[in-house]
Amino acid sequence: MTRMTIPIGPQHPALKEPLSFLLTVEGERIVESVLRMGYVHRGIERICQNRNYVQNVHVVERVCGICSHIHTTTYCQGVEALLGLEVPPRALCLRTLLCELERIHSHLLWMGVLAELIGFTTIFMYAWRDREIVLDIMEELSGGRVAHAVNVIGGVRIDLDAEMSHSILVRLDELERQIETLLGVIQHERTFRARTRGVGHLSAEQVRRYCVVGPTARASGVDVDLRRDAPYAAYDQLDFRVITAEEGDVWARTMVRLLETIESLHLCRQLLAELPQGALTVRAPRRVPPGEVVSRGEAPRGELVYYIRSDGSDKPARVKIRTPTLTTLITLPDQLRDVNTADVPAVLAGVDLCIACADR
């Protein structure tokens, strides 16, 4: 059979961000795929070395527009550890609240993108319509829909009162109803199942070999979640389930992510019910004593790692960012082998790529 090379990207409707795949196909079956990234490489790690610690909060927020808050959380956490700061409990809870709202927003966004890519525009519209509820809440809390600028070193910048917390709870109930409807539709829609079952399969062994993290790993039966395994912020006081599935295909990832949004809703409710009183920030000095720290957080896409080294000045000597997408990108050539070209968008969407994160 004749071989043909199909380029996917850098500009391609299946990719919201530039990434390039060269697929070698036989008929409609893929035999080889070559990945080229770096189209959104902005050199953030170097930029961070030229700014001071406070300015860097805003730089790392712009590593990724979808999971901006977890980036600042993990970064601030690291700097706070270097400074030996004790962050007030109320600030930790508000940070966690935003983390969970962001997870809901990110997962719903992903659901919509996947649905659009497999040609199910209606689910895309509904998922994104429901996502607006979360965006509204986040906007009311912080003033920003996508970039929130909530974290500062030593605490948070935002606060909420009883009235707002009540109005958030009401909307969360509405959101839960919507998500459950969505879940029902997806579980019963045969065409959706036909397009996602058995597509983009990753075994638990592959997940371990490639050090894959987050919902992609959990959908393959690897039970990892930093929120439970190494509680940061306020997660040690919260009660939640870690969702896993066994199948390891796009279908399992869909279920894991949607059930996770519901779990996140419960977390938000717990946080709002038990929000401690107290200060929002502690004063942080501009200069950071020499030292190094590895800070980890569970982004919507999985484990996020920051390594920060200070040389005693007001600028970090090194900020290393390892984002979860980098680990999933490495599995793509494996996932794409022997796949039908029509399933490429489902595979690409299934692992929830965030190229801006991966390229930095």
Binding site: M37, G38, H41, G43, E45, R46, Q77, G78, A81, L82, R208, R209, Y210, C211, V212, V224, D229, A230, Y232, G291, E292, V293, V294, S295, R296, E303, V305, Y307, R309, A317, R318, K320, R322, L326, T327, L329, I330, D359, R360
Partner: protein, 162 residues
């Protein structure tokens, strides 16, 4: 993860080497090893202790040497540290033990000019195809100035704006 168990295993594997151990904030242990020991140490971690999750490889230029940090994770963090000379740094690859290390190593390679011996695919990961400057994370006044403003002749205006 039991840190003492790991240290014991490492000391047993490298009886002649000095192994420096430091506890760091946020559940992290830093272990400094000679560069030649990194690969055998990773082998011990992966094969004997089933510690297979490599979170990241950080490379940094401290001014006097290139430091590589291998961040492992299994409920607690374990970081292996090795220092390489600034001139022609090289170290053995881990890709055959931990396939997930492939991208991390490629990134360190292009950002700091470290050669990973035995890496199956040492292409650039993030830098552009036409990159002709220094490795960008090496300490130097400025890593190849970003191309000058207005680097290209602008396309003719006129079709737009109707």
């Amino acid at each position: 993860m039991n840190v003492d168990l790991i240290l014991e295993a490492l000391r047993k594997t490298f009886p002649a080497e000095t192994i420096e151990v430091r506890a760091m904030p946020v559940n992290e242990t830093f272990v400094t090893l000679p560069p030649a020991c990194i690969r055998p140490a990773a082998q011990v971690l992966v094969e004997q202790l089933n510690l297979r999750h490599l979170s990241a490889i950080t490379g940094q230029d401290t001014g006097s040497e290139i430091e590589l940090l291998y961040h492992f994770w299994d409920g607690r963090g374990l970081t292996l540290r090795a220092s390489l000379p600034r001139e022609e740094p090289h170290i053995a690859t881990l890709t055959d033990l931990i396939p997930g290390a492939a991208f991390y190593e490629r990134e360190v390679c292009e950002m700091l000019g470290v050669t990973f011996e035995g890496h199956p695919d040492p292409r650039a990961l993030l830098l552009p195809d036409d990159w002709d400057g220094e490795a960008p994370l090496r300490q130097q006044p400025s890593p190849t100035p970003a191309a000058p403003r207005h680097p290209l002749p602008l396309p003719t205006l006129g079709e737009g704006g109707g």
